[in-house]
């Protein structure tokens, strides 16, 4: 199994790591039993545009790299667009993932969807 240079870059120097104190949408998926937990923080403006995104991830190199590129890809996008981010786009952005690691990209897409759902719930209140 070998990771691409882009995966390794995003693993060693991930973008947007850390908790976001003023996030208005937070999503978490995965569980420790399976070895992956991804938590995504979003700051969304009044026009439903994602102004900032960050992550905290418990997982392998691919999970951390997927979190890094996925958060990077959705900044500046509308929540509609971000919710439609496909895991294959994450894989492409990483220059590919080993087959057994594809689920990490799925997790990233799901974490973003969970965070957007959380934002929508908060908005309704």
């Amino acid at each position: 199994m070998e990771y691409t240079d882009i995966v390794m870059e995003n693993f060693t120097c991930p973008k947007h790591v850390g908790e976001m104190k003023d996030a208005n949408g937070v999503g978490q998926v995965g569980n420790p039993t399976c070895g992956d937990i991804m938590k995504i923080f979003l700051k969304i403006d009044e026009n439903d545009i994602i102004r900032d995104a960050s992550f905290k991830t418990f997982g392998c190199g691919a999970a951390i790299a997927s979190s890094s590129v996925a958060t990077d890809m959705i900044i500046g996008k509308s929540i509609e667009e971000a919710a439609n981010l496909r895991n294959s786009e994450v894989v492409d952005a990483l220059g590919g993932l080993p087959t057994q690691k594809i689920h990490c990209s799925v997790l990233a897409a799901e974490a973003i969807q969970a965070a957007i759902l959380d934002y929508k719930k908060n908005k309704k209140k």
């Binding site: 850390g18 569980n31 905290k56 392998c60």
Partner: protein, 400 residues
């Protein structure tokens, strides 16, 4: 960048002495050992010399040594061969929950063929209980297969005591000693074992060559059928060069057993002490004393093993993990689960296995750099002592 290899439990580099011994068999000594002419006789002679070296290394008779293509083949042969040959007597086998997959998956295969297998549990250190073993023995038990030393956590099982219990009951006893040879004394007569598996590449020999010791008179079926090689017990033209290499590696390992073990154990203690002192929220897996001299295995709470391995690899260090992410399955190591670790913790394991050439400088380098790696990964993790994802998963945050 200089590499630091700390995965000797996975495999070892070929020792120059071993390479030198095997080269003539790769270049000139090409005859088929079954042939009657000079080239064949020369090959046969070198194989028999190697057989004697292996026999001497484990205090066996040379007619009890059978070469196989791997330790896994030796395990498969021992278990399937005994099961098939002795099934009229009974179809019950006893093994443990922490065996190498070569034993575990073979037992599972036999279960599908109508055999019954009792997998003995282990305590938090990875040790089986002799009482459990005595209770598990039935009238129809034909085989007990318990590993000598565990490949992941390094725990050494009480093989001699097991051998006494099993012998008294007249049951056949197999042990997978792949991790033991070259690290601790292995004496088949003293231990009362009937079958014992070995592998060359764990003792600075080449990959692709193993041995099954079969005590004289033990009734066993063949696994590999074909020609009359290995006294009609294991078919296939002999791998002359690797057999010669295995013989040399075994001889060399036994000659230096004591000094190598002391060296590895000294470094292991420096490594364990350094890591336990420098890094919070870490636990040592396996028994603190009854373990292989070169084995150290840790779990770091809140982070995952593969990301530790990648980070170590970047700074030049090779290690291994029981994390699911490194094995391609979703389950973390069955050994770490068997010693009672929650799955979430088992994912954060790191095994560093020291070899005879490992230096104190290398160990110090790892101790000095690991803390930073763990800290960086923990900062990225959504799980912390204050914010556990699932309390049940990190039930002992202060455990050391």
């Amino acid at each position: 960048m200089k590499r630091i290899y700390l995965d000797h439990a996975a495999t070892t580099p070929i020792d120059p002495v071993v390479l030198e011994a095997m080269l003539p068999s790769l270049t000139g000594n090409y005859g088929n050992p079954s042939s009657i002419y000079a080239e064949g006789r020369a090959a046969k002679k070198s194989i028999e010399a190697a057989r004697l070296q292996i026999a001497n290394a484990i205090n066996a008779d040379l007619r009890e040594i059978y070469f196989t293509a791997s330790g896994s083949e030796a395990d498969n042969w021992a278990i399937k061969g005994i099961a098939m040959k002795n099934q009229a007597k009974g179809k019950h086998i006893i093994s443990t929950t922490i065996e190498h997959h070569a034993v575990l998956h073979t037992c599972q295969y036999l279960e599908k063929q109508g055999f019954e297998v009792t997998y003995l549990p282990v305590d938090e250190y990875g040790l089986i209980s002799l009482d459990d073993l005595k209770k598990a023995i039935r009238k129809d038990t034909i085989l007990v297969s318990i590993m000598f030393a565990n490949n992941e956590i390094g725990t050494i099982e009480p093989i001699k005591a097991i051998g006494e219990i099993v012998k008294e009951k007249g049951i056949i006893f197999h042990t997978d000693a792949v991790q033991a040879l070259g690290n601790i004394p292995v004496d088949v007569k003293d231990l009362n074992v009937d079958l014992l598996s070995l592998s060359a590449h764990k003792i600075y020999g080449p990959k692709g060559i193993g041995v099954l010791y079969i005590r004289k008179g033990v009734p066993i079926d063949n696994l590999i059928h074909g020609g009359a090689q290995e006294r009609k017990k294991r078919a296939g033209t002999e791998n002359t060069a690797e057999i010669v290499a295995f013989g040399k590696a075994a001889e060399f390992a036994i000659q230096h057993l004591e000094e190598n073990a002391v060296h590895m154990k000294t470094l292991r203690e420096v490594l364990i002490k350094g890591i336990m002192e420098k890094i919070p929220q870490v636990r040592l897996n396996g028994h603190p004393e009854i373990r292989l001299p070169g084995n150290a295995n840790f779990c770091f709470d809140y982070i995952e093993g593969e990301s530790i391995l990648l980070s170590l690899d970047i700074i030049g260090v090779a290690g291994s993990s029981g994390s699911a992410c490194t094995s391609g399955s979703l389950e973390p190591s069955h050994v770490l689960l068997a010693i009672g670790l929650p799955a979430g913790v088992a994912h954060g394991s790191l095994r560093l296995s020291i070899g005879k050439s490992t230096t104190l400088e290398e160990i110090n380098y790892v101790v000095d750099n690991l803390a930073e790696i763990i800290e960086r990964l923990r900062k990225m993790s959504p799980i912390t002592a204050e914010c556990p994802i699932d309390d049940a998963v990190f039930d002992k945050p202060d455990h050391h």
